[in-house]
């Protein structure tokens, strides 16, 4: 239970219930759908670029508190970053969840997304936390093609 209450903390709850990032952009350059067929979670990410910089981002969709808040926090963290920086942050987040980060200092660049660190103690929920990050990774990879 302790782990769980740590996980369902204010950052995650606020972002999951009433996220200001949950909306559609007036105009966007790229969008990508992500879903977990086993649980039915679905998100749509929208990205507006200014040159190499992620100028604006938003999401729509539905899912559990973990998937929704993870998406919203990711948007907060990635907004204003360059594509290169974003890719690096995404990789760090995924590695944090997989417990593959040796140097805790590396996690600083994740800002609020560090709130999801303990999800690695709940294997059943890992895919919820990763949905948005994998979807964004996919979007950025496609953009490079």
């Amino acid at each position: 239970m302790d782990n769980l209450e740590e996980l369902y903390n204010d950052i995650i709850m606020e972002h999951s219930m009433n996220s200001y990032n949950k909306k559609e952009l007036k105009s966007c350059d790229f969008c990508e759908m992500g879903h977990n067929p086993n649980c039915g979670d679905e998100i749509k990410l929208e990205v507006k670029l200014n040159g190499d910089i992620i100028e604006d981002m938003a999401f729509t969709g539905h899912g559990c508190a973990i998937s929704q808040s993870s998406t919203s926090v990711m948007i907060d963290v990635l907004k204003g970053k360059t594509i290169k920086e974003a890719k690096d942050i995404i990789e760090t987040f995924i590695n944090m969840i997989k417990r593959e980060i040796k140097d805790e200092k590396e996690l600083e660049k994740l800002e609020d997304a560090i709130a999801f660190k303990n999800i690695s103690n709940m294997p059943a929920r890992v895919k919820c936390a990763l949905l948005a990050w994998h979807t964004m990774e996919e979007l950025l990879n496609k953009k490079g093609e």
Partner: protein
């Protein structure tokens, strides 16, 4: 009845409230012992060897078939086909019967409550044969109305697929009525008894179903053993589904003749240990008695429903007609996603399923993504319900202040 829990080692050692028997049941010591004894003293490849151990394995396997035939009142044991689960049995029917017999403009009629296993195979065969796939929808009580049944099953209907009990809503369908009407219209009926046979007596002759399928693991037996019952003349006219060893008569370079029933449908070495476990599970169920199982489940399930109804933030997805409701209770905490609820329940030692329960079309029809599902069986007690309700209250408390009113 509350003493039964002691027979289940996993429930004794872990002290969880196990409320996911609709997915799979826990196994009593008697079943574990029977399987253990088989592998320690009787194991060999059945139907193969001339030596006594193989003959013993064959005896155990074929006596198991007899036992299951009696258990569901099959005319003969040759109509009992072993599969790995209900899904494989349903695929067998779809491929070996559906694909061969459906023609353009024929109709397959399913209920919207079907598990994906009695739905996806029919999508495949109706597309392949250019036949039509139609659904009977449920009303506001999560039940199929007579009008719905009579309007959807028509003279063009050749196959009706129906689950006896919904794995999401727990609705008990009036399958006798559906079977009678389907036969009047010249259709055959595939009955999915996976969610019913753990809780109620199935008499295939009384039901007059053309096919009946179920999984052993939902009725106390080990994983990996399922049963297909079919009417003899139908099974005899069907082609094999899987081909290989033990299902043949003569094999030439270019031609093969097939073995008679039931071997025709049982390719390869079969799961004798699973059959042994299933037989021990039947013994256990018969020892307790379906009447006692139902009486006990009714008490526990009604207690759960009444407790849950007291919480104004809970939405239940069950019929108000108690006599049409089995041992499955789907619910949601309004505004909270079922996966979050299930995680919090898990942290409190309560096992429930959350998700779409392999019934996406039903979820879409109900306008929801998913539900939490507590499903009960003979070993559950009112204490399990109390644990469930306590942990639901805890989950709600965690979310309450964030819920936008």
């Amino acid at each position: 009845m509350d003493e039964l829990k002691k027979d289940f080692p996993i429930l004794n050692s872990s002290n969880v409230a196990y409320l996911d028997s609709g997915a799979t049941t826990q196994k009593p010591q008697a079943v574990i012992d029977a399987v253990d004894k088989y592998y320690k003293t009787q194991n060999a490849n059945p139907h193969r060897g001339a030596y006594s151990l193989s003959i013993e394995a064959t005896r155990v396997y074929e006596e198991g078939r007899e036992k299951i035939a009696q258990f569901i009142s099959s005319e003969t044991s040759s109509q009992i086909i072993f599969t790995k689960n209900a899904s494989e049995a349903l695929n067998l029917i779809a491929y070996s019967y559906g694909l061969e017999n459906l023609k353009k403009d024929d109709e397959v009629v399913l209920s919207i409550m079907e598990h994906h296993s009695n739905l996806v195979p029919w999508q495949f065969v109706t597309k392949k044969t250019n036949s039509k796939l139609k659904y009977m929808y449920i009303n506001e009580n999560f039940e199929l109305s007579d009008e719905e049944i009579y309007s959807k099953i028509t003279d063009n209907t050749k196959i009706v697929g129906i689950t006896h009990v919904s794995n999401v809503t727990g609705t008990i369908n009036d399958v006798e009525k559906i079977i009678k009407y389907a036969h009047k219209k010249g259709a055959i009926v595939v009955l999915d008894a996976s969610q019913s046979i753990p809780h109620m007596k199935i008499d295939v002759q009384k039901l007059d179903a053309d096919f009946v399928v179920f999984s052993g693991h939902k009725m106390l037996s080990p994983l990996g053993i399922g049963v297909l019952y079919g009417k003899k003349n139908i099974l005899e006219n069907m082609n094999p589904f899987l081909m290989g060893g033990d299902m043949i008569e003569y094999v030439y370079e270019q031609e093969t003749t097939f073995a008679p029933l039931p071997s025709k449908f049982e390719a390869g070495t079969q799961n004798v240990g699973g059959v042994v476990g299933l037989c021990a599970a039947i013994d256990y169920i018969e020892m307790v008695g379906y009447e006692n199982i139902q009486k006990h489940e009714k008490e526990v399930v009604n207690y759960a429903i009444n407790k849950l109804k007291e919480l104004d933030y809970i939405k239940l997805y069950i019929t108000p007609n108690e006599s049409n409701h089995s041992a499955v209770v789907s619910f949601n905490i309004i505004g909270v996603h079922p996966h979050d609820v299930a995680s919090i329940l898990d942290a409190n030692g309560v096992c429930v399923r959350s998700g779409n329960h392999c019934a996406q079309p039903l979820m879409r029809y109900l306008g929801i993504d998913s539900t939490c599902r507590a499903s009960f069986y003979l070993y559950n007690t009112k204490e399990d319900v109390d644990k469930l309700v306590d942990s639901i209250q805890k989950a709600y408390k965690m979310f309450e202040k964030y819920l936008s009113k």
